[in-house]
Amino acid sequence: MKKEKEGWKELPIGLVLGAATCLNFETGDWRSEKPVWDAEKCTHCLICWVYCPDSSIIVKDGKVQGIDYKYCKGCGICAEECPPKVKAITMVREEK
């Protein structure tokens, strides 16, 4: 359920918010294309992780686990940077 937005009297003085508010800003809903990761093809070179501007490549113990669709904007940089001989990431049109 969506919370009712505060009136002006309820807001803290001076444009102050809590820390790390971008965590609540789920930029995943900006996407028109989504990257699809192929675990079979991936060599775990982590180039996609280096280039991703939204920290949306999920990595554990040096291995790619998948893509964080909550924040991935679908920019396609990961698919572009994945080495030509690997091509473990393909961009797929988002369907509603």
Binding site: K5, E6, W8, G14
Partner: protein
């Protein structure tokens, strides 16, 4: 302690006694001396201030914003083009509700380039959301600087205290300084609702604010402006009770029984008082209204003062370049729209670029106002007084 000080020296003394945590400044005539003297206080170890000599006024104001958000008591000084260069950051400081205080010297904005007094600089920034108090002499500049720090920190709005270029800034006057020890007691510590440096309680300051919240934040800022006049009056009273010099938002001089009055800001108030004295000796019922506080506009006190007279001459050391005359004139016309008693009114735009205004000239204005009272007619609403070729 009674001393001889210029306006700039008096403001620098006030800053020394306030002992701000941070001063970031860039020099500009005629306000240079304020921070030049203050930087000497820093070098001599008389204050604990972190002094930041920056590369421009834009940077000065920006450094002030950062320091103030970190929780520091912050001051700076500038004039004219310097304030214009701060313009962008002025709005940010006010929107973030940072109680920064600028000791300003009013100097004409270019072009033509000029270093002398008019009020075009601060009036061009009147809508930036800063408190603005215009002073009549060095003593008032000193006293108001101290008051403004307290006012700004209580309401959480930034403020400008100003003096007239050279007339006050470089004119040596008798000034009564308050004992050094009294100022920190009067001001107390700045109370913080947050600090950028408090890593235990991290915050986000000044985030992007779109259609869903911008209006609410602006409304909250407008509310602070609506509520600050009682705070100004309270601090003026506390100051008066403690140090013996009493101030009001709108200064009235012999207005109660006056037929006509002049309305001014700044040092011309002092000149006009002498004119009032001279004319009173001749039996002419004239008075003087001087607004100290210009932003927010002291509507009620001004309406009350204006309602006492039949004719008012509004003297503006500025023009809005809008065909509507000076700034003060426009504000006063606006507040009187719903007033029961509306005096006849004439706007005298005068003194631009430091053009001198004499006691005799002000007497002439009073005589004209008395003639308007007799005839009941204002032939011309807006005149440019003291300019050649009119």
């Amino acid at each position: 302690m009674i001393v001889a000080r210029t306006g700039n020296e008096a403001m620098a003394e006030a800053m020394r006694q306030i002992n701000p945590d941070v001063v970031a400044a860039y020099p500009i005539t005629p306000a240079t001396e304020v921070v030049q003297l203050f930087s000497k206080f820093v070098n001599d170890g008389l204050v604990d201030t972190q002094f930041v000599p920056v590369e421009s006024e834009h940077s000065a104001c920006s450094a002030c914003v950062g320091a103030s958000a970190a929780g520091a008591r912050v001051m700076t000084s500038t004039a004219s083009q310097g304030l214009a260069l701060m313009h962008e950051i002025l709005f940010i400081a006010a929107g973030l509700r940072l109680p920064i205080v600028i000791c300003l010297v009013n100097r004409s904005l270019s072009s033509p380039i000029n270093i002398h007094c008019d009020h075009s600089d601060t009036l061009a920034s009147r809508d930036a959301g800063w408190l603005q108090i215009y002073t009549e002499n060095a003593q008032e500049a000193y006293d108001t600087t101290i008051q403004l720090v307290k006012i700004a920190e209580e309401i959480l709005l930034p403020g400008i205290v100003s003096t007239d270029a050279f007339i006050i800034s470089h004119g040596m006057e008798r000034v009564e300084l308050i004992d050094d020890k009294e100022i920190p007691k009067f001001l107390g510590e700045r109370k913080l609702n947050y600090s950028l440096l408090d890593t235990e309680n991290p915050i986000t300051l000044g985030p992007l604010d779109l259609q869903d919240y911008f209006f609410e934040h602006k409304r909250s800022q407008i509310d602070a402006m609506n509520k600050v006049l009682p705070v100004i009056e309270k601090v003026q009273k506390e100051f008066g009770d403690k140090f013996g010099r009493h101030y009001s938002t709108v200064d009235e001089y012999k207005v109660d029984d006056a037929e006509v009055a002049i309305l001014v800001m700044g040092s011309t108030g002092g000149t006009a008082k002498v004119a009032v004295e001279r004319l009173r000796e001749k039996g002419k019922k004239v008075g003087l209204i001087r607004t100290r506080v210009y932003r927010p506009f002291p509507k009620d006190a001004m309406t009350k003062a204006l309602s006492k007279v039949k004719v008012v001459g509004v003297m503006d050391r500025s023009d809005t370049l809008s065909t509507l005359g000076g700034h003060l004139y426009n504000d006063v016309r606006s507040i009187l729209y719903k007033a029961e008693k509306q005096p006849l009114m004439k706007n005298y735009v005068y003194g631009l670029g430091g053009r001198d205004i004499s006691i005799e000239e002000i007497e002439d204005i009073y005589d004209e106002l008395l003639n308007i009272q007799k005839s009941g007619k204002v032939a011309k609403d807006i005149v440019y007084f003291g300019v050649r070729g009119e």
